[in-house]
Symmetry: C2
Subunit: 268 residues, 2 copies
């Protein structure tokens, strides 16, 4: 495997672009191939078996593209499929759950940790397991927030409705005194300003994207797979399994920079 | 084709059960085979090509099950795929758009008609076309309401948040003096009490489910395919492409009666 090879990143849709944003920031010389499975989005309410099947298909495709490592930039896919992918894939695979859990444990300093995510991520118990693997005595309060993804996609990032929904979801966790709140879905960083205001200063918000980018940098270092600096910036590739135009239009909000082209690839 | 054969009904998920409910009410002797494509739900934000591919796969499966007619109980699938399905299918196929459009024209008596639905249904312009085919002079005001489906699935049918979202979506249509409002998505009948209150007495709400059941009854009559009354009630079959347990749990709310079993079938 060559250090020149790209990093593969995938998500059920556009949310994983928040992870790409963090990767571009931390690893500016790396080339990215991103897959958004927009034909089958969202993964959140789907069964573990179905999510595993979808994640396997995309991972195979990324390996065929010659990636040197794969980042599962989707909490639901990480929760359901990571062990399978790590076992079967010829390149290192990392997910968003373990890095987020480690950062939450550091920030909470023994206090209760809140975790919010899709129904699939929360029901899987993946964050509880990852947090308790570090410290079994920490109290974890988890809550599925299925309305946050459609609210973000509607662009209502600072809307009275979003604030009311956030109160409904978070007030019980805040009443129980959480010290850290894991944004366990790659869409949620776009709601971070509103959630931070609601949660107050006592609560540290954990954005898994930054933590995952740091973990990716470490894996590349360990395997001596870091790309070298070049005169020309790397050319990334973005692929969507459906509606590449909508991906292009929405993607910029998540990536924080312009997207000039999105390819269409069919899986399954 | 025998009158004993079942009626095939499909939707991207559970919303089409509101159409089944209307069919059971109007055609109590008919047997139903219902497919909810929960592995690929929602169709609303997906491209016309992808929705057509999914609708074709399910239609083929229903034809293999020996159905005598097919009801596309999904506005997005009707909007994108109905002409293709009607051309290629050996049994009559009907959708939810034309019956809803006819009822809206009757109710509005020449006044403006509001249409609400998913992004896919609204962008397709299917309701405008169906309404203008009856009366080209009627003003149609269409609005995508992507938050309504997740709000219904969250069960927030009479929640302050849902009321605020409904105001955001409907106030411009109401200010323009609509006389009828087409609920252009099979999830929306569950919001009918709240929407009716908001819209006031001047606006007639059009639930396509009832209209579609009436159109189905007419097609069966025309083809002499009506089932005969029997001593034992017909046994229906419900199929989901993913998470049949969730379908079972949520389905009752849409169907208005108990669901005792849901089969799992994989498409695509």
């Amino acid at each position: 495997m060559s250090p020149d090879a790209p990093i593969g990143v995938f998500d059920s849709g556009i949310g994983g672009l928040t992870v790409v944003r963090a990767l571009l920031h931390r690893l500016p010389h790396e080339r990215i191939v991103y897959v958004g499975d927009t034909a089958r989005v969202p993964y959140g309410p789907k069964s573990p078996d179905t999510v595993r099947r979808y994640a396997n298909e995309i991972t195979h495709w990324l390996v065929e593209q010659g990636v040197k490592t794969i980042v599962v930039a989707c909490n639901t896919a990480t929760a359901h499929a990571l062990p399978t992918l790590q076992r079967e894939c010829p390149v290192p695979v990392l997910g968003v759950v373990a890095p987020g859990a480690r950062a939450a444990v550091r920030a909470a300093q023994g206090g209760p940790i809140g975790v919010i995510g899709t129904v699939g991520t929360i029901d899987s118990g993946a964050y509880e397991r990852a947090i308790h693997a570090i410290d079994p005595d920490i109290t974890v309060l988890a809550r599925a927030c299925p309305l946050f993804v459609p609210l973000v996609e509607e662009g209502w990032l600072d809307h009275a409705v979003t604030r009311a929904v956030a109160h409904e979801y978070l007030d019980p966790l805040l009443a129980d005194g959480i010290r850290a709140l894991v944004l366990g879905c790659t869409h949620y960083p776009l709601l971070a300003p509103l959630l931070a205001e609601l949660a107050g200063e006592r609560v540290t918000l954990i954005d898994s994207a930054d933590q995952t980018a740091a973990a990716t940098a470490q894996i590349l270092r360990e395997h001596s797979l870091e790309a070298e600096a070049r005169a020309t910036p790397p050319r990334h590739r973005f692929v969507a399994s459906d509606a590449p135009d909508r991906f292009l239009a929405l993607g910029q909000r998540f990536l924080g920079t312009t997207l000039d082209h999105v390819d269409h690839v069919t899986f399954g």
